[in-house]
Amino acid sequence: MSTSMAPVALSIRDVRKNFGATEIIRGVTLDIAQGERHCIIGPNGAGKTTCFNLISGRFPITSGEIHLNGERIDQLPPHKINRMGLSRSFQITSIFHRLTVFENLRCALLWSRGYKYSFWHPLGTQKALNAEAERLLEDLNLHDRHNTEAGLLSYAEQRALEIGMTIAGGATVILLDEPTAGMSNTETDYAMALIRRVTEGKTLVMVEHDMKVVFDLADVITVLVYGQVIASGPPAEVRSSRAVQEAYLGALEE
């Protein structure tokens, strides 16, 4: 378990989720401290993405409780959870295909900058907002793609945009679902440097299959197998855990 004394950002209490008759998440309990870099690993179909879907409000939970900075969120719709400071990315890239890269990022900024459903601000003259979108574009190394339709980007560029849209709103808790999946080694290195940079000082929960990335980044690793947490703790502890060796890591490292 995490030894840090930082307050808990995200608290998951005995959460269960059924799809039809099958229980996919079978009683997950986790505390994630503020500022922690928390990686969730586990075999395909373990329920990692489903956990993200439950935390972010995409699916209702079957039972249990989820708290964000002490406030209960498991009954709230996604947009309300997002407004409380939690943002997520998607394993399958989820962007606005027909909008330009710049527009995608600007859209991701709008709510947190207080524009809400305004139909009176002309976007073109919102200097601070536009400057911020430009800065994000630079951060993501996408500045030369400013006016490109997002649907026309390369895969790696779309993944970068996906991360950018997730962090744009200034959420304090960031969930990233396999941000580097399908990337080459160089692309992965670049993406990880980017993720470190843009999530500085924030709580990061990341699902990741690449063990090198995980052990490099994580303060805490949680191993999810078949809808249950079989281990959770600092990397060294998890690496040496017998249960993990048997259930998961051993199989992967061979």
Binding site: H97, L99, C107, L110, W111, F119
Partner: protein, 421 residues
Amino acid sequence: MRMRELIFALVVIVLALLLPWVFYDWAHNRHSGFMVSMLSQMGMMIILAVSYNMLLGQAGLFSLCHATFFGMGGYTTVHLLNAVGKEGVPIPMEVIPLLAGLAGLATAIVFGAMATKQRATAFAMITLGIGELMATAALMFHHFFGGEGGVSTDRMVDRSLFGLSYASGIQVYYLILVWTVIAIGLMYYLTMTPLGRMANATRDNFERAQFMGYDPRMVRFLQFSLAGFFAGIGGGLYAITYEIVTFDSLAGALSANALLMAYIGGTGVFGGPILGAILITVLQSGVSLLSNSWLVYVGVLFISMVMFAPAGLAGMIKAHGPVRRAGRMHALIVPYLRLVLPGLALVLGFVGVVELLSFYTIGAAQGKKLVLFGSPIDVKSAIPWVISFGSLIVGIVWMKFESAHFHRVWENLTVDLRPRR
């Protein structure tokens, strides 16, 4: 707005101001009634089509009840005009379209709250239901809708901010023009606001918007309501022009027309539906004088656009942008010219077949005769049928061949102009 677009818009407005004078009948010192009424009709249809595209093109909402808001604006206007004229309620004529818009807005708020909770097919079905419901209501509630006869009024209420009587069509036309410019201007402005942009975003990816703090249902609801506001303005202008509003102004056929105009013009470009509205109005006013079958032509045009040019007229024009910027338009001249003859054969053959059929059936019943270039044509003899069908078939085959050629030329010309991946 970029400078070029602004200039283009200004040119169009000046053109709209001058057009009635181009067709002025100097011999009799009067305006061409045909032109003025066609241009007036164009104005309200442009508002209808562009406001419809706030849903279809900008928000990805396939609505089938847009005429409801147009019609409610219209009915409200006739009642307002009657109140002004008969009871002396002090509302100037120039302001009435705004009130019609508010009636459209109120209606859209009520129905939007129901419809925009649903997505895709369910949304389309609910709007279809709303359209039918309102059409039925229009026939049932005589006090407000006047039953089958509708409600009529007299627009010469003698209350104007500028001392105008609106006795002549040209004064009404300029009122329509002013309101069309205002409405289109506002709708354009909306596309540049956070709501407008989020409408695009929820169109592209309903789900993602939720994880950025936006409730996509609220985005759609607001967009739907505002679209209803503008449609209401269009309906108000309709009522002022025709001085009667019947159930047609909110029935399904007009909703379908809004869809047709927006789609044919092109839903992906702001100005697309304007093009569509102009084209359909010209067809409606012009071709309907010449032929019983003008609706057939509109229908076939619509089907062809869906099949061969889903981006619409504006989309086709836009696709030439990169070619023009690369200075390669000249390479398209010959390929385009090569499409003219097969195109003519196709169109003439098709028109021939449709008209022969029409005169063979309805025409015969009405005792009309088909006359071409001053000589009557016997629709019972074989020759015109053979020529028409022959021309149609030759046109189709030839067009297939030529369009394949055109396609090859186009591909070669644009292969290096496409955005890199």
